[in-house]
């Protein structure tokens, strides 16, 4: 019993210590961001590996999620004779929820895990340490550009996801199920608000990008410098990112849409 309580205590202390280190790490990262605008080519490189390489999975998933939404939404709406509202249903669910959340989950799986593995490997092969001894701060040179690239990429990816999803839903709704295309778009436009829906979705995705990249880089930087340690850190990145995304999504939704 005592051992059990002691274990709990140790777990708690460990968690708090990690949280503390994570926040210190965040401060160091943020401190490294301003100087990046002088050397934007570093960020450019990372925009490629973090953003561009995630586009394909985002495109494919977005298209299919949109198509499924179109199909499912139609089947439900047609019972009420409201299939004209398909556009609204699809655009609101994508722009408010699925776009930011699903693309953030995919981003955590595709880019987040890659970031953790990359940074963890650099740590375990002493590259970060070596850089420090060359008087180059690895946080500024390696971590901060990836962090900034993650924050920039995420909203762009989420926007691509939503746009492709809506097109997918339109293809299914109009092409396959025969929903009137004018009604599809006009109902959508009437009910989707730029500030309340689209901008809030963008804010969500920026927050998710921030959190996922932070978690991924911290896990990589904090990983045990062995191949097993890096592997475990990669898993942790995906799991913790998913928790963080879904938890934050609730909080953000409550904050932004709660008072309607």
């Amino acid at each position: 019993m005592i051992n059990w309580i002691r274990g709990l205590g140790r777990w708690g202390l460990g968690t708090f210590e990690r949280l503390g280190r994570g926040h210190l790490f965040l401060m160091q990262m943020m401190a490294g961001v301003p100087s990046l605008f002088l050397r934007f080519s570093l960020v450019m490189q990372q925009l490629f590996s973090v953003g561009v390489l995630s586009v394909l999975i985002i495109l494919v998933s977005g298209l299919f999620v949109g198509m499924v939404l179109g199909l499912q939404g139609y089947n439900t709406l047609v019972d009420f004779g409201a299939e004209e509202s398909l556009g609204v249903l699809v655009s609101l669910s994508l722009v408010r929820e699925l776009g930011p959340v699903v693309s953030a989950l995919l981003f955590a799986g595709r880019a987040g895990s890659a970031l953790t593995a990359e940074v963890g490997l650099m740590k375990s092969t002493e590259q970060l340490s070596g850089m420090e001894m060359m008087a180059v701060d690895p946080i500024r040179r390696i971590i901060a550009p990836r962090f900034l690239a993650g924050i920039i990429s995420m909203p762009l990816l989420a926007a691509i996801f939503s746009a492709v999803g809506i097109v997918g839903a339109f293809l299914v709704g109009h092409g396959l199920l025969g929903v009137d295309d004018g009604a599809f778009w006009s109902q959508m436009q009437a009910k989707t608000d730029f500030y309340d829906d689209i901008m809030n979705g963008v804010i969500k995705s920026v927050v998710f990008g921030f959190v996922v990249t932070w978690i991924a880089l911290f896990e990589g930087h904090d990983a045990m410098p062995t191949s097993e340690g890096v592997g475990r850190a990669t898993t942790r990145t995906v799991v913790h990112s998913a928790f963080a995304i879904l938890g934050l999504d609730f909080v953000l939704t409550a904050l932004m849409f709660g008072d309607e």
Partner: protein, 267 residues
């Protein structure tokens, strides 16, 4: 005045003392070796000198500056004058040999690309790998990677280089090459070298002065000849590589005979 002055160094990892009151002087222009069995914290010592780790007690002065009292920017300035060769080479894996050697130059200087090219080729020529400049680090053998790392470490013309286990896991030829290189670079550039190693033969070939570390303390120090003449049994065991002696062959624990007679409790 020595380049590096370590006084009363204490460093603990958890409750284990890695260094327990160590004093070391490293003379300018000489090759000083720090030797000792695996796990005596030789790499830790280099990280302490480089300011990557902080001792619990004691001071480390490099060129008259207390490393652990420096501000961040002063520490980074000091590090520009220190080179370090990691055991693995620590080359950046996503760029090729040329860019690896150019890396510190590009980070710390505003030299034009043509001048950087001349410098990089010069350094690579010195380690004999000028024609390997387009290879990626993954295509290099361990010895070649260390030579590239050496070229990179001297790119900024430092005042000292720290070698972390430069001979481990090398075949005789690349071992010979590295020994030769360390010697040559030390003399040609007027560097101060610190070699951390447990390869007795190679190290005594190049070292001017050797410190023997064990159990967190300096056991013995002196030139290679002096060490060979040491009366300490421990030193003799280490230098000659005897399997048994003051450092027992068996891991400490209960007696073998007792163990055999006593059934395992959890079995």
């Amino acid at each position: 005045m020595p380049l590096i002055k370590i006084r009363d160094l204490h460093f603990y990892r958890g409750n284990r003392a890695i260094f327990d009151g160590v004093n070391i002087d490293i003379e300018r222009g000489k090759v000083t070796a720090i030797m000792g069995p695996s796990g005596t914290g030789k790499t830790t010592l280099l990280k302490l000198i480089g300011g990557q780790l902080r001792p619990q007690k004691g001071t480390i002065e490099v060129d008259g500056q207390d490393v652990h009292k420096l501000s961040r920017s002063d520490l980074y300035e000091l590090r520009k004058r220190m080179g370090m060769l990691f055991q693995s080479g620590a080359l950046l894996t996503d760029i090729n040999v040329y860019d690896n050697v150019a890396f510190p130059l590009r980070e710390h200087t505003d030299l034009p690309e043509s001048l950087i090219r001349d410098l990089v080729l010069m350094k690579l020529q010195a380690v004999g790998l000028r024609n390997a400049r387009n290879l990626m680090p993954s295509e290099l053998s361990g010895g070649m990677a260390r030579r590239v790392a050496l070229a990179r470490a001297v790119a900024l013309e430092p005042m000292m280089i720290m070698y972390d286990e430069p001979f481990t896991g090398q075949d005789p030829i690349s071992m010979g090459t590295l020994v030769n290189l360390i010697h040559r670079i030390n003399d040609a550039m007027g560097l101060t070298s610190i070699v951390v190693s447990h390869d007795v033969g190679e190290t005594s070939e190049i070292a001017d002065h050797i410190y023997l570390l064990s159990g967190g303390k300096i056991i013995e120090q002196g030139s290679p000849e002096q060490l060979k003449q040491s009366s300490s049994e421990w030193v003799q065991q280490f230098i000659q590589g005897l399997p048994d002696g003051p450092v027992p062959f068996h891991f400490a624990g209960p007696d073998y005979a007792d163990d055999l007679l006593q059934p395992e409790e959890n079995a």
